[in-house]
C-alpha cells in the first residue's frame, strides 16, 4: 500500500492543510513575539523638541508608542485628523496607537508645531 488511495490522498491533504494551519498558527504566535519586539522598535522618543525617529515605517496592526523625555509637555496630533490625538504628555508619559490602513500619516505637536513626524504604514 505504498500508493495513496483517493481517500488516503484526501486524508493526507487534510493533514497537510491542518499542518499548514498549525504552522500558520505557530507563525501567528511568532508574529506576536515579533510584535512585542517590534513594538520596541516602534517606539518614538520625544527629546529636545523632536520626534526620534522622525519617520517610522510600521506594519498595519502594529503598535506605535511615543515617550516624552522632555521637561516640556508635548502632544501627538494627526495633521489630517486620521487618528485620535493624545492629551498633553508630561515627562516620561507615553501614548500608544495601533497602525491602521497602509498609507503615510503625518503628525505634529500641537503645543510646539515646529515638531513634526511621519508614520509610514505598510501591509502586514
Amino acid at each position: 500500500m505504498s500508493t495513496l488511495t483517493s481517500r488516503n490522498k484526501t486524508i493526507a491533504l487534510l493533514c497537510a492543510i491542518s499542518c499548514l494551519n498549525l504552522s500558520a498558527f505557530a507563525l501567528a504566535g511568532d508574529i506576536k513575539d515579533v510584535d512585542s519586539t517590534s513594538s520596541k522598535q516602534n517606539t518614538i522618543e520625544i527629546k529636545d523638541f523632536a520626534f526620534n525617529p522622525q519617520t517610522i515605517t510600521v506594519k498595519s496592526g502594529e503598535k506605535i508608542t511615543w515617550t516624552n523625555r522632555d521637561e516640556e509637555p508635548h502632544t501627538i496630533v494627526s495633521v489630517e485628523k486620521q487618528f485620535k490625538k493624545s492629551s498633553a504628555l508630561d515627562t516620561d508619559q507615553t501614548f500608544t496607537i495601533t497602525a491602521g490602513a497602509p498609507g503615510t500619516y503625518t503628525y505634529f505637536c500641537s503645543v510646539h508645531p515646529k515638531m513634526t513626524g511621519t508614520i509610514i504604514v505598510v501591509k502586514s
Binding site: D48, D70, P73, V77
Partner: protein
C-alpha cells in the same frame, strides 16, 4: 545665533553687539527708557541709592509672565515660591502699579489644581486688577475653555479670548496666538482675530499710545525654536500708523528687546525658570542654572506711561 536679529529691517542702530549688551544688562534690574528709538538705561539700584523716585507718570502697570505653576523639575522645584517672591516685590513697590498683565503660561499643564494654586497665591497681591492672555501651557487639553472661564470675566473677550480696553488714554490689546497652531508653523493669530484687530483700531487717532500683549513673541525672535508668530506682520501692519506701539510678550523666559520704527518689542522674564538664549542649546526648554543664580534670571517688568510723551518706559527687574 545671529538669526534672531536678522529681521531688523529698519536699520535702527540696534546692532548685534548692542543687542547682546542689552541682554547682558537685562538680568541686573535696569530702567529702560525708549525714546525715538534710542535706548537709555539706569540701574534700579542706582535709583534706589540716590533716593530718586521714578518719574511721576500718568499710568504704571506691571507685566508678569510664565509662572508655570505645577512645574517641579530641576530648573526650579518650587515655582510657587518664586511666583510669591515676585508678588512680594510688587507689594513692596512705593507706588503700586494700576494693574497687572499676565502674558501667559500661568500653569505648566492646564490642570485645575494648578490654576487653583495660582489664584490662591495671587490673593496676596495688593494690586487686584489683572489682565490675562493664555500661553500654550494654559490651553493644553481643552482648547482654553477652563482658562477662559477663569480669567476673562472682567473683559469683553471675543473669539478664543482676545479683547481690548482703554486706560488713561492708552489703548491695550490682548491677543491670543497659542491656539489652532498648524503643523510646522509658529504662533498664530488667525483671520478672525486679525479682522477684529483691524476694526478695533480703525477709529483710533494716530497719537493714541498702543500696548499689545500676547504670549508668543509677535516678532521673529528665533523661528527655528518656534519663537515667533506666523501672521504677526499683518497685525503690525494695522498698527503702523500709530506714533507709539509697545508690544509685550512672554514665552521665551528672558528679556529681549527690539525697536522697529515706532514699535518697541519686549519680552519678559519668567517667574519660574529661565530658558537658553536663542540658538545656544539643542532646543528650548527649562534651563538649569546654579541655585544661587536662579533668582537673578527670574523677574518682572514694569511699564510707565506719561501723557504727552510718545515712548513708554519699560523696566525689568529680577528677583535677586
Amino acid at each position: 545665533m545671529s538669526d534672531y536679529i536678522s529681521h531688523d529691517h529698519e536699520h535702527d542702530g540696534i546692532d548685534r553687539r548692542g543687542f547682546l549688551q542689552c541682554m547682558a544688562w537685562a538680568g541686573t534690574g535696569l530702567l529702560w527708557t525708549v525714546s525715538g528709538g534710542v535706548l537709555a538705561s539706569k540701574t534700579l539700584a542706582q535709583i534706589a541709592k540716590a533716593g530718586e523716585p521714578l518719574p511721576a507718570t500718568d499710568l504704571s502697570f506691571l507685566q508678569i509672565s510664565d509662572s508655570h505653576i505645577g512645574f517641579n523639575k530641576d530648573a526650579n522645584k518650587d515655582v510657587t515660591a518664586t511666583f510669591k517672591i515676585a508678588l512680594d516685590r510688587i507689594n513692596a513697590m512705593p507706588t503700586p502699579p494700576s494693574f497687572l498683565i499676565h502674558t501667559g503660561d500661568i500653569t505648566q499643564l492646564s490642570k485645575p489644581e494648578e490654576f487653583d494654586t495660582f489664584d490662591e497665591v495671587l490673593k496676596s497681591c495688593r494690586t487686584k486688577d489683572v489682565f490675562y492672555v493664555p500661553g500654550e501651557h494654559d490651553v493644553l487639553n481643552d482648547g482654553g475653555k477652563l482658562y477662559r472661564e477663569r480669567y476673562l470675566k472682567r473683559v469683553e473677550a471675543k473669539g478664543s479670548g482676545w479683547y481690548s480696553f482703554n486706560k488713561n488714554g492708552v489703548h491695550f490689546i490682548g491677543l491670543v496666538n497659542v491656539l489652532d497652531l498648524q503643523a510646522g508653523g509658529l504662533g498664530q493669530l488667525g483671520d478672525e482675530q486679525l479682522e477684529w484687530l483691524e476694526a478695533d483700531v480703525k477709529d483710533l487717532g494716530t497719537s493714541t499710545p498702543i500696548v499689545v500683549f500676547a504670549h508668543i513673541p509677535l516678532w521673529a525672535v528665533y523661528p527655528q525654536w518656534g519663537w515667533g508668530t506666523s501672521d504677526s506682520e499683518r497685525a503690525l501692519g494695522y498698527l503702523k500708523r500709530f506714533g507709539s506701539v509697545t508690544v509685550l510678550n512672554g514665552h521665551i523666559h528672558q528679556v529681549l528687546q527690539k525697536v522697529e520704527g515706532n514699535v518697541t518689542f519686549h519680552t519678559a522674564m519668567s517667574t519660574a525658570f529661565p530658558q537658553p538664549a536663542p540658538g545656544t542649546a539643542p532646543s528650548p526648554g527649562p534651563l538649569k542654572v546654579p541655585a544661587e543664580k536662579l533668582r537673578s534670571l527670574l523677574g518682572l517688568t514694569s511699564v510707565q506711561y506719561k501723557q504727552g510723551k510718545t515712548a513708554l518706559a519699560v523696566v525689568d527687574s529680577n528677583l535677586s
